[in-house]
Amino acid sequence: MADLAVSPVAAGHDAHDDHGAHHGSTGLSNNKLAMWLFLGSDCLLFGGLISTYMLYRGRVAEGPHPEDVYNIPFTSVSSFVLLMSSLTMVLAVTSAHRGDVKRTRLWLIATALLGATFVGGQVFEFTEMYYKGLGYTTSLFSSSFYTLTGFHGVHVTVGVIMLLSLVAITLRGRIPGNRAEVVELVGLYWHFVDIVWIVIFTLVYLIPS
C-alpha cells in the first residue's frame, strides 16, 4: 500500500518535513501559510456579499418576499448534509496522516458526494424560487440573495472538483511526493466553505428580515 504520510523524496531533505511540506524562514509549511492567508482574505469577500444581502433583503418593490420563497426544512437538511461533509473531510485528513490511502480515498469520495448533494439541493432551491417568480433581477433582495448563495455554491463546486481530483490522483498513485499535506489543504478549504454556510444559514434563512 502506498504511504501518504512518509515521503521518501522528502526524507533527508532539510527544507521538507516528513509530509513533504516546503518550509520558509518561519519553519512552517509555505502551502499552509498561503491557504490560511487566502481563507482570511476570502472572509472579506463573503463579508461584503453577506452585508450587501443584509442591507437589501428588505428592498422588495415587486415580486416575492424572502418568507414567501424560503423552504426552511429543505435548507436545514442541506445544511446538515454540508455539516456532515466536514466530518468526512476530517476523517479523510486523519486517514491521510496515518498513511491509509484506501480510507483516505473512501472519505474523500464520501465528502465529494455530500458536497454534490448540497449543490444539487441548491440548484433545486433556485429552480423552485424561479418558478415562484424570483428572478435574478426581480428585486434588490433577489439579486443580493442569488449573488451570495451563488458565490457560495461556486465555492462548493470548486471544492468538489478538488476532492475528485485528489481521488483521481490517489488512484494513479501520483500525490506529489506522497504528501498528506495536499489532503489537509483541500480539507481547510472545504471546512471554510462549511463555516461560510453556517453564517449564511443563520443570517439569511433563520433570522427574519
Binding site: H23, G27, S76, I195, L206
Partner: protein
C-alpha cells in the same frame, strides 16, 4: 558547535514545530464524531429558535449559536487550536477585519437611511 550542526538543529526545530501543526496532536476520530454530533444538535436548536419566533431573543440566540458553531469548526475541524499561532493570526485577522469593516459600512447605510 559547528555552523552546519547549528543549522541542522534549527531545521530540526522547525520540523518539530511543523509536526505540531499537523493533525497528529489533534483530537481522535471519535472526538471528531462527537463534535459533529454536537454541531448537528446545535443546528437543530437553531431551527427550534427560528420556528419559535421569540423576536429579538430568538435573533440573539441564533447569532450566539452561529458564532459557537463557527468557532468550533475553525478550532477543531480546521485544527487551528492545535496549529501554529501564525495561522490563527492570519485567519482571525481576516475574519475580524471583515466583521468590523462591514459592520461599520452597514451602520453608515442605516444612519443615512434614517
Amino acid at each position: 558547535m559547528s555552523t552546519s550542526t547549528a543549522t541542522e538543529h534549527a531545521h530540526e526545530d522547525a520540523s518539530h514545530e511543523s509536526h505540531g501543526a499537523h493533525a497528529h496532536n489533534g483530537p481522535s476520530d471519535g472526538t471528531m464524531v462527537k463534535i459533529a454530533v454536537l454541531l448537528a444538535v446545535l443546528t437543530g436548536i437553531e431551527i427550534v429558535f427560528a420556528e419559535a419566533k421569540l423576536g429579538p431573543a430568538s435573533t440573539w440566540a441564533l447569532i450566539i449559536l452561529m458564532i459557537v458553531k463557527f468557532v468550533v469548526v475553525v478550532l477543531y475541524f480546521m485544527h487551528l487550536k492545535f496549529d501554529a499561532k501564525l495561522f490563527s493570526y492570519l485567519f482571525w485577522a481576516g475574519a475580524i477585519l471583515a466583521v468590523a469593516v462591514y459592520a461599520a459600512a452597514m451602520a453608515c447605510f442605516q444612519m443615512f437611511a434614517s
